[in-house]
């Protein structure tokens, strides 16, 4: 199937000479959840803003459902929903009116029943007549989501949706994302919380300094780079690693009491049992064993570090 969003050589330079995007290529498949990870200033928001029509690209093309975002903006913008990072809302509007306003802007006829359902889904219904300036930060975030859902977009961009959001809203939000995905909505979210991407995304993209460093299926990424480490604590310190243990490429630390073994947890043979028997054959007494998996965070830090 053709990708729902297709980005080619997308470039953005500002008059100051700053290059926010340096030739991004990215395909987003219909119905997937793509998490874009990157530190502040990596270019995530610029990329989203270009796709949504808020920023003009310097070069490159973007198509959404086969339509060019510049020449066919009416088609692309009517199927794109955007929940911006900043909590920008009109101070003096009511919740219900502002959500209905978004629906109208996107050319949809009024549909109070749908708006009511969205407000209920987001636990906003009892606040529907409240002025926006009287809402808490979390509530305002919910309103921004309701606005973006009011015209039933097929592609939804969530720009740092959980920044400054409490646990309950975060949970609600992920449930909502799951529901939307079940309805076939493609979701692109940016975050710098890696656990978030790990938990919810199908694919993960890493972006830094205006370049996509990697886009990979989450599971494949985790397996590919997800090395495990086993640490063996010895009862008595040793000076050197016995020759018999050389095939395991161990490292010795902790003043001769700690041996570290790296292995691929997804492999058929991890080598753990043979290592353990080799240890006892060498007469080493094991006091404790622990294993650790490198997280997405480690992968991320590694990638972003390399990108510098």
């Amino acid at each position: 199937m053709a990708p729902i969003v297709s980005i080619r050589n997308l470039t953005k330079s500002y008059a100051s000479g700053f290059k926010a995007l340096k030739g991004v290529d990215l395909d987003i498949e219909q119905g997937e959840i793509l998490a874009l990870l990157g530190p502040n200033g990596a270019g995530k928001t610029t990329m989203i803003s270009i796709i949504c029509g808020i920023v003009t690209p310097s070069d490159g093309t973007v198509t959404v459902a086969g339509h060019d975002i510049l020449t066919d903006y009416r088609k692309t913008r009517s199927i794109i929903g955007l929940v911006p990072q900043e909590l920008t809302l009109d101070a003096f509007e009511t919740v219900e009116n502002t959500v209905a306003f978004s629906r109208g802007l996107h050319g949809c006829a009024p549909n109070p029943a749908l708006i009511e359902r969205i407000l209920k889904d987001l636990s906003l219904y009892d606040k529907k007549d409240t002025m926006l300036r009287q809402l808490s930060g979390g509530m305002r975030r919910r309103v921004l989501i309701a606005k973006a859902l009011s015209y039933e977009p097929k592609v939804l961009f969530l720009d740092e949706p959980t920044a400054g959001v409490d646990v309950s809203l975060r949970k609600d939000m992920w449930q909502l994302v799951e529901r939307l995905r079940a309805n076939g909505v493609t979701i692109i979210l940016t975050t710098h919380y890696i656990e978030e991407a790990e938990e919810i995304a199908d694919r993960i993209g890493v972006i830094n300094h205006g370049r996509i460093l990697l886009v990979e299926d989450k599971k494949a990424l985790m397996t590919k780079l997800g090395r495990k480490q086993m640490t063996v604590e010895l009862a008595e310190p040793i000076g050197v690693i016995p020759d018999a243990l050389s095939p395991y490429s161990l490292t010795l630390s902790g003043e001769g009491t700690r041996l570290t073994y790296e292995f691929d947890s997804s492999g058929e043979r991890t080598g753990i049992s043979s290592l353990l028997s080799a240890l006892s054959q060498c007469g080493l007494r094991v006091k404790d064993i622990s294993t650790e998996q490198s997280s997405l965070e480690d992968i991320f830090v590694e990638l972003v570090g390399e990108g510098k």
Binding site: V55, T88, G104, H106
Partner: protein
Amino acid sequence: MNFEAIKSIYAFEMARTRRTLLQSIVSPVITTSLYFIVFGAAIGSRMQEVNGVSYGAFIAPGLIMLTLLNQCIGNGSFGIYFPKFTGTIYEILSSPISMIEIVIGYVGAAATKGLIVGSIILVTAAFFVDISIKHPFMMVLFFVLTAVSFSLFGFMIGIWAKDFEQLNLFPMLIIPPLVFLGGSFYSIDMLPPFWQTVSHFNPVLYLVSGFRWSFYEIADVNPVVSLLTVLGFLVVCLSITAWIFKTGYKLKN
């Protein structure tokens, strides 16, 4: 055409007017009534008729224009400046809506509000002085054209303005002298020849003169010239707006 979007923007702007009813409607009515009391009744009663029209009645079209210009520029500029200021403009920019539709929504609402306030002033004036409208069609034409072109002018100011000071520059500092020196309160015949010539460079003179002609058939300049001036101003504003949207000037990076 995305009519729903135009409707939404228009309704949103009109709702803003309703929320600020005191400031929007009541305050211009009170201000104008004060003008009539001071210039029409107190001072006007001691003044000669101007070209056969009582002074109070003579200033009525000028006062309506003064209010209309202020209202249209104020509303037109604020309507687009505020979303820019708060950041909610993101929603307009990311909507499937053309720049023409944005203009129709915002400028239409600003002009409507200006026309409502202008009409209220006209009715208020009728309580103080004898108003006669000799050319109702021309009067409505001047009224609507002025409202639309100055709302558009206000819209441009709203896009151009970096801060509230710039936003208020035109309504507070530039429009009042133009209106006061544009023959709102006198016929330029009363001025020395030099100032008569200077007055002809003031675009507001043409507006006020044409508008007043549609009431009493008295004018400082030929009404056709007045009409062409308003039309010309409208064309200039439309061209600049078209350029703004083509380049995304101050709206998009």
